[in-house]
Structure formats: structure tokens, C-alpha cells
């Protein structure tokens, strides 16, 4: 919440200045009002349809992994199932519990879904005109706004006046706040190379360097993936809506379309986190050989398709995880967040910083001199030696060091270490046996 306010405070003066100073002719209206509105409508339509079909995809994927067929009866291969579901949810009775806080109860799902949808504005769906707003603090904006989503869940849990909802909300607030830290730390490594917070700028930096940052930042990517799972409340971290414990968690009391809004928020945030991962680590809409297309329109369309394909791969990964791994216990979840993800993120930042400083040009205090000034005074690794240097340090040195750090931090004390406990018990038993045996032996000797 604070994040959004800060963002707005940062952005608003510039808008006001623009509004007052620049001439408001037809060109102004076309550039700042009409064209963005068209883009927003297209993106919202596509994304909301996509979200509906993500539910279908999830059901199909889960069915295939469980030797079932999934939805088959509505339309060919059940393809009209999302429409039927949407219609059903629209027509269902809207129930508000008698003792619920009515206003907050109604606002909560809206907050949740708006926080998820606003982020879509700054995601670079493709090259050139396919991005709605190229804000120079795009990533910060995303992190700030998506953290408002947790407010929706907390309010929903509180306003429902139900124990399951409240417990779910409690869990979700603790979980999302914990994992947000790890998520924030994991992206800093990649930002060191990109040297910008603009989403399009990050993709351009990767194009200029000629490598996706997942190769420079393997640990960062893994941390991001795990934290994104925690952040979107998806299995194996779906504690807030653990059906076996909490009925449905924070949305237990919700029905009909309000419930659908929560569902929409969940899947949209899944889409958004995947999109950020693709932008930061997988080169966004860039792909080797994309530059060969000379036709501008075709180039943009192909770039959109590439971006979508990468996002879909990550989303499939999320679904794959969900239907494979069992849910974490709550203390394990917190353990993973605070004792594994955050230290690993911090260590990754420190190590990346060291490799980065060592590789600086000699005039700037570096040792190896494997970087050079590129576009917009940005330091980029030199074509081959620099890239090989960063990939090797990232994979060969950083991963073992971080593994050692994590092993040192998570070395369990005897109280919790079952292995050590068992060894101790065996020793004690041996001692008891010895004590028991000795007097007998003495007695036999006497007689």
C-alpha cells in the first residue's frame, strides 16, 4: 500500500507537468488517451479470456497427470467449459454472511483483482507498440502494486467473520510478506546487469548483451521462481487456501462472482509473475534470429508470440509443480522463505557484486577489464570473454558457494536433527545394556 502511494507520488508530478505544459492538440489526445485506451481494452480482453482458459488448461493438465480426461462435455474437448463456468458464476446467488463487515467484504475482491490487473499496464507484451506504458520504474511499480494484492486477501479474511477465512488471511499475509522479500532480492542481480528498472529497458539490455540473464543469474532465477510460487499462493505453497485444513481459506465465505474475482486475481498474478520472470531472466520478447524479420508489423507480432510462448512455458511449469508436489507444512514454508530464499538472495547479490566489480574496465577499478561502455553509457560485458566469464562465475562458483552458505545456515541443532537424535538414542541404549549386563556377570563370577 505504502509502495503504491510512493509510486503514485513519484509519477503524478510528471503527469501534471505534462498535462499543463504540453499543447493538448489532436496529437496529444491520440498519443496519450485514445491509443492507450485501445491498448488497454485489447490487453484486458485478451488477458481475461486467457485467464479463463488458464483455468481450463489447469484442469486439463491436472487430469492428464492423474490418468483422467478433464472437462470433455461442453463443446469439443470441453473447450467451452470456461464460458459455462463464467455464466454459472454470474448467475449464482451473491451471499454475504449476516455478521460480515458488508462494505469491506464487497471491496476486498475488487482490491485483489485490481492490484493484479493494474500491473498489466507496464508489462512489455512485445516490441514497439505492443507495450502499453513504458514507465522507467516499471519493475518497482509492479512490485509495489502487486504487494497491494495481499491487502485484498487480508480484508477478505477479516470481513468474512469466519474462523477459516481469518486463519487463511493470517497465513497468506505472513506468507506473501515473507516471500516478497526473497522475490525482491532475487531480481537485484539481474538488475545489476540491466542497470535499469524499465521493463523494455531490461529486455533491450539483454539484447545488447547478447545473452539472457538466466545464464548470468541461475540462482536468482530459481529463487524468483520459488518466491513467485509463494507470492501467488500456488501449490506447493497454497497454505492460505489449503482445503484440507481451512475449507477454502480466505475466500471460504465468498460465492458467485465475488469468488470468481479472487480466482481471476490468482490466475492473473500467475500470468504477471511469469511475465516478469520472462522479462528479467528469459530475454522477454527477444529470441535469436528475430532480428532477421525486416517487416516492422510482422516483427512486433512475432515478438508478441514469442513472449506469450515463454510465459506459457513458465505457467505450465507452475501447473506441473502444483500437481506433482504435496503442500508444505506451515513452519516448513516459513523456513524455506526466511532460511533458504532470503540468505540465498543476499549471498547472490554479494557474489554477483563481486564478480561485477572484478570485471569492470581497469580505468574504473576493475581487475579483469571484461566490460565495455555500450548503449546509453551502460556497462556491458564484452562480446565473448565477458559473457563466458559471467556464465562461468554464475554457474560454477556462485552455486556451490551459496549451497555451502545455505548448508551452514540450515545445519540443524540436535534438538531438531532426527538423524543425530537417533544416534544418541542408540548410544544411550548401548550404555543401558552394558549397565544391565555387568552385575549379572559379577554375580555369575561369585557363584
Amino acid at each position: 500500500m505504502l509502495g503504491t502511494l510512493t509510486t503514485l507520488m513519484l509519477v503524478a508530478p510528471e503527469w501534471v507537468l505534462r498535462w499543463t505544459k504540453e499543447p493538448r492538440g489532436n496529437a496529444f489526445w491520440a498519443e496519450f488517451v485514445v491509443w492507450p485506451l485501445i491498448q488497454i481494452l485489447i490487453v484486458l480482453f485478451i488477458v481475461l479470456t486467457l485467464v479463463a482458459y488458464l483455468v481450463y488448461l489447469e484442469r486439463k493438465v491436472s487430469a492428464f497427470m492423474q490418468a483422467r480426461l478433464g472437462p470433455m462435455r461442453v463443446g469439443p474437448w470441453g473447450l467451452l467449459q470456461p464460458a459455462a463456468d463464467g455464466l454459472k458464476l454470474l448467475l449464482k446467488e451473491d451471499i454475504i454472511p449476516l455478521k460480515a463487515d458488508k462494505t469491506v467484504f464487497q471491496i476486498a475482491p475488487i482490491i485483489s483483482v485490481v492490484a493484479a490487473l493494474v500491473v498489466l499496464a507496464v508489462i512489455p507484451w512485445g516490441a514497439a507498440w505492443a507495450t502499453i506504458a513504458n514507465v522507467n520504474i516499471g519493475l518497482l511499480f509492479i512490485l509495489a502494486v502487486s504487494s497491494v494484492g495481499v491487502l485484498g486477501l487480508v480484508l477478505a479474511g477479516w470481513a468474512s467473520n469466519s474462523k477459516y477465512s481469518l486463519l487463511g488471511a493470517l497465513r497468506s499475509s505472513a506468507q506473501m510478506i515473507s516471500y516478497e522479500i526473497g522475490m525482491g532480492l532475487s531480481i537485484i542481480g539481474a538488475l545489476m546487469f540491466a542497470r535499469t528498472l524499465s521493463m523494455s529497458g531490461i529486455i533491450e539490455a539483454q539484447q545488447a548483451d547478447g545473452v539472457w540473464y538466466v545464464f548470468f543469474q541461475p540462482i536468482g532465477f530459481i529463487i524468483y521462481l520459488v518466491c513467485a510460487l509463494g507470492e501467488t499462493n500456488r501449490a506447493p505453497f497454497d497454505l492460505p487456501e489449503a482445503e484440507s485444513e481451512l475449507v477454502a481459506g480466505y475466500h471460504t465465505e465468498y460465492s458467485g462472482f465475488r469468488w470468481a474475482l479472487f480466482f481471476m486475481a490468482e490466475y492473473t498474478s500467475m500470468l504477471v509473475t511469469s511475465a516478469i520472470a520472462v522479462t528479467l531472466f528469459l530475454g522477454g520478447w527477444s529470441f535469436p534470429g528475430l532480428g532477421l524479420i525486416k517487416n516492422q508489423t510482422l516483427f512486433v507480432v512475432v515478438s508478441i508470440v514469442i513472449f506469450a510462448a515463454k510465459v506459457m512455458v513458465l505457467i505450465y511449469l507452475y501447473m506441473w509443480f502444483r500437481w506433482t508436489w504435496p503442500r508444505y507444512r506451515y513452519d516448513q514454508l516459513m523456513d524455506l522463505g526466511w532460511k533458504w530464499m532470503i540468505p540465498a538472495g543476499l549471498a547472490n547479490i554479494v557474489l554477483t557484486g563481486i564478480w561485477y566489480v572484478l570485471a569492470l574496465p581497469k580505468s574504473r577499478g576493475g581487475v579483469f577489464g571484461l566490460m565495455q561502455l555500450g548503449l546509453r553509457d551502460r556497462l556491458a560485458p564484452t562480446r565473448w570473454s565477458g559473457i563466458i566469464y559471467f556464465v562461468v562465475t554464475g554457474f560454477v562458483i556462485t552455486i556451490p558457494i551459496i549451497w555451502l552458505v545455505l548448508a551452514a545456515i540450515n545445519r540443524r541443532t540436535r534438538d531438531f536433527n532426527l538423524h543425530a537424535q537417533r544416534q544418541l538414542q542408540i548410544k544411550l541404549r548401548a550404555k543401558r545394556l552394558q549397565k544391565h549386563a555387568e552385575p549379572q556377570a559379577a554375580g555369575e563370577g561369585a557363584s
Binding site: A63, F64, A67, W320, T324, W325, R422, Q423, I426, A430
Partner: protein, 181 residues
């Protein structure tokens, strides 16, 4: 001092490496992915446990029942003469533990070649499927292999009276609506 040493508690090097590389997590992922992959390319064969997808879409496809399944009753006819095999001996009705069979018969003079014999002849046969527990005792008691429990299982009807199957239904079977995909 007796040395108690459990080998189960000590991890071998291989197990340590497996733990380090999160082997178990990837093993699970591989299993689910193999199912997903097979589901996409394998030809579907519902009800086959060796197939990636087990689902049989029952109303659309015929459901599989096992060989020893016992379902709707049937009165078999002599394949040569087309006459019923039932000799109205009433053994099935006696064997039935829930008394769901009623055999109606009359004594009649039947001409067989040159002789004229007085014989029991079947008139009516009522089989109450609502009470039947499909134990197959009637079928086993039948000396002429006339009464038999078939594999058909679609016995639902709209009214209670429909459960009382008469001789004609038992001989011809009910007209099912057969679905195909």
C-alpha cells in the same frame, strides 16, 4: 560393550548426492510429465489400466464389465426350435434366497412322436429385479441352462412396476438405447 550400529541411519555418498541435487523432487516431476506426455499421444482406450488415461466416457461409449459380472436375467431359448428351454421345474424359485422368481406352469398333454405325455409347461415367469441380489444361485440351480444372468447392467426404469420382468422381457431382453461415440 555391545556395539549397536545401525546401517540404516548412515547415509551413503550416493544418497547424499541425491539429496543435494533434490533428486526426489525431479523424480516426481518426471513421473507426472510422463503421464501428461503419454496422455497427449497415446490412443485412448477407456478402462485399460495400462493406458495413460483410464477414463471411459460411459454414456458415450459402452462401459467395460468384467467377465464374471452378473447383471440382467435372461431366459434362454432353444437355438434350433426357438422354444423355451425352461421345463418349469421351479428349482430356481426354490433356490432364490429373496424369493424374487415366480414360475407359473400348467400340466398339459403334449404329443411327442407317437406318445402323448402329460407334462408341465411354462406359462408365466416373473422375475423381480428390484429384489434380486444377483447371487446367481438360480442360474446354478437351473438344470437346462435356461435362466442366466447376463452382463447387461442398465436396469433403471421410470416406475416401480418396470422392475417386474415378465417372460417376454426375459426372453427378448429390453430395448436399450445404444450410444456410440
Amino acid at each position: 560393550m555391545p556395539r549397536v550400529k545401525s546401517t540404516a541411519d548412515r547415509r551413503t555418498l550416493g544418497e547424499v548426492i541425491k539429496r543435494l541435487l533434490l533428486f526426489d523432487l525431479f523424480k516426481g516431476l518426471f513421473l507426472t510429465f510422463s503421464y501428461n506426455w503419454r496422455a497427449l499421444y497415446e490412443k485412448r482406450d477407456g478402462g485399460n489400466p495400462n493406458q495413460a488415461i483410464y477414463t471411459e466416457q460411459y454414456p458415450l461409449e459402452a462401459a467395460r464389465v468384467s467377465e464374471r459380472f452378473r447383471g440382467a436375467p435372461r431366459l434362454n431359448l432353444d437355438p434350433e426350435s426357438g422354444q423355451t428351454l425352461c421345463i418349469a421345474c421351479d428349482l430356481c424359485a426354490l433356490a432364490c434366497p429373496v424369493d424374487c422368481i415366480e414360475v407359473g406352469s400348467i400340466r398339459r398333454e403334449v404329443r411327442e412322436g407317437e406318445k402323448v405325455n402329460k407334462k408341465k409347461v411354462l406359462t408365466t415367469f416373473i422375475f423381480d429385479t428390484s429384489r434380486c441380489m444377483f447371487c446367481n444361485l438360480c442360474s446354478e440351480a437351473c438344470p437346462t441352462d435356461c435362466l442366466e444372468l447376463t452382463q447387461s447392467f442398465e436396469l433403471a426404469v421410470y416406475h416401480r412396476s418396470g422392475f417386474r420382468w415378465d417372460r417376454e422381457m426375459l426372453e427378448k431382453g429390453i430395448d436399450y438405447v445404444r450410444y456410440s461415440k
